[in-house]
Amino acid sequence: MDDVAIVGVGQSAFTRKSGVSIRELCFDAFKEAMTGLDLTNKDIDASITCSAPEYDKQRTPSGLISEYLELTPSPAFYIESVCSSSTTGLRVAYSLIKSGLHRVVAVIGFQKMSELSSRDSAERMGRGADIMWEAPFGISMPSGYAMFAQAHMAQFGTTVEQLARVRVKNASYGAKNPKATYRKEVTLEEVLTSAPVATPLKMFDACANADGASCIIVASADVAKKVSKIPIWIAGLGAATDTMSMSGRKSLTSLSCAKDAAAQAYKMAGVKPQDIDVAEVHDCFTISEILAYEDLGFAKPGEGARLVDEKQTYVDGKIPVNVDGGLLSKGHPVGATGGSQMRTIVRQLRGEATEAQVKNAEIGLVHNIGGVGQYGNVVILRR
């Protein structure tokens, strides 16, 4: 199974307003990803650019990024699955390499959210729901997840304090991450008293819109062993969808696309939830992290919040989660986010996550969700 590896990972700093162009953001990520590799841009025989086009001014950005990184004439593809775009890009890269069509593929994710005001971004996100039947009511991304939070609280007794503890944990790690948008610890009080966005979620329960880029270099086994000291193997991949509409969902207390994707990835990797040493999950909101604990099998349905109460998802807990600060601290440049999660897990498995290293991490997991549970990707990596 060890036939496709990640050899390089990078990201730009994630910030509220970068002050540079998308091509330069992508370069920052590319530069870090190529550092220390016995590879040049000429060895990259395909690139996959990932973003959500509703936030972009540039149309068909794959061509532009390919030119700026001087990857032409290699083919350049464009992938979109909103917030999970760059892990969808990884899945495509894996297939391209497995098929033998390509040997080294760069997956580049970006988004410059500061091109739009947060209100205009919220409108675009509303149109990421069903535009005929749900967007006309004023649905937004926070309110979609807020319905899950409300339903989870009603069914299982999860509390706003428990949600807030997710932000407190992630902020404690965000404080140590030089590439995160928010680099300071927050108190439970600060989370609980922040402004309501969509009940029961408040401003500090939400990730911020951010500018940023990520880059993952994926290679076939023969190349990987030559160019990288510690290749990180893609052991399991899972991808699934659920309905665009909220009315189509069978459950509002769990994301079925995440559960389905996780089952596929665990099966392919031949591992179980308890084998995972470190995980990155899509905490676009505090509730999203609790749902992820349950959907990934780290906790039983309804018991996710206990993990954070008991500090089991801190760096020295049973299953450390988002010890880079998560989306909640890093900010969420939609197309770049999955790549940033991958970067963190690769650094953890290589033992390079100096800010918050999980001891002897060998198997890591990435959970990256598009929309309010429309697209789910789960990736399992192995040292």
């Binding site: 005001s117 209100r119 205009d120 919220a122 409108e123 996100m125 509303g126 149109r127 069903d130 535009i131 005929m132 039947w133 749900e134 967007a135 006309p136 009511f137 004023g138 649905i139 937004s140 926070p142 309110s143 807020a146 319905m147 899950f148 939070a149 409300q150 339903a151 009603a154 402004a195 309501p196 966005v197 969509a198 009940t199 029961p200 979620l201 509409s245 909220m246 009315s247 189509g248 969902r249 069978k250 509002l252």
Partner: protein, 137 residues
């Protein structure tokens, strides 16, 4: 044509399901049903992918239903800022049929309880626009 008058902001004008809005004007909220396999659809769908040759028919949603999940939106997206706070919700209307809508502002936020009985009622919005909302059943 016809669908552009639906909801606070409509992003769709042309659809085979435009008669939905005419029914709203007559005081009815309608779903559809496949004549071949009997699948009930809400939101209405004029095509059945399982029986691509079949037709669908309009069926009135009667109810009552019950509230499954809701959220009061304080930060409205562009185009909806003036409406906030408003409460969006999903209700169950029998046989697993779910409806997404807003809860009427006549129901106080403190009175909203999961499981409460709802009916879905056509309403007029400003500017001759039509929609529907959940009211107490």
């Amino acid at each position: 044509m016809g669908f552009e008058t639906f909801g606070k902001v409509s992003f769709t004008s042309e659809t085979k399901a435009a008669a939905f809005v005419d029914y709203l004007a007559q005081g009815k909220v309608m779903g559809t049903r496949c004549k071949a396999c009997g699948t009930a659809y809400f939101p209405p769908k004029m095509d059945c992918p399982s029986c691509p040759d079949s037709e669908t028919e309009w069926v009135e949603i009667t109810g009552p239903g019950k509230l499954i999940a809701y959220s009061t939106v304080h930060y409205g997206p562009a185009g909806f800022e003036d409406d906030a706070p408003y409460t969006i919700a999903v209700g169950e209307f029998g046989n697993g049929l779910h409806i997404f809508s807003r809860i009427s502002k006549d129901i106080k936020v403190e009175e909203i309880k999961p499981g409460m009985k709802l009916k879905v009622v056509p309403i007029k919005l400003t500017g001759d626009r039509l929609s529907y909302e959940f009211q107490k059943a």
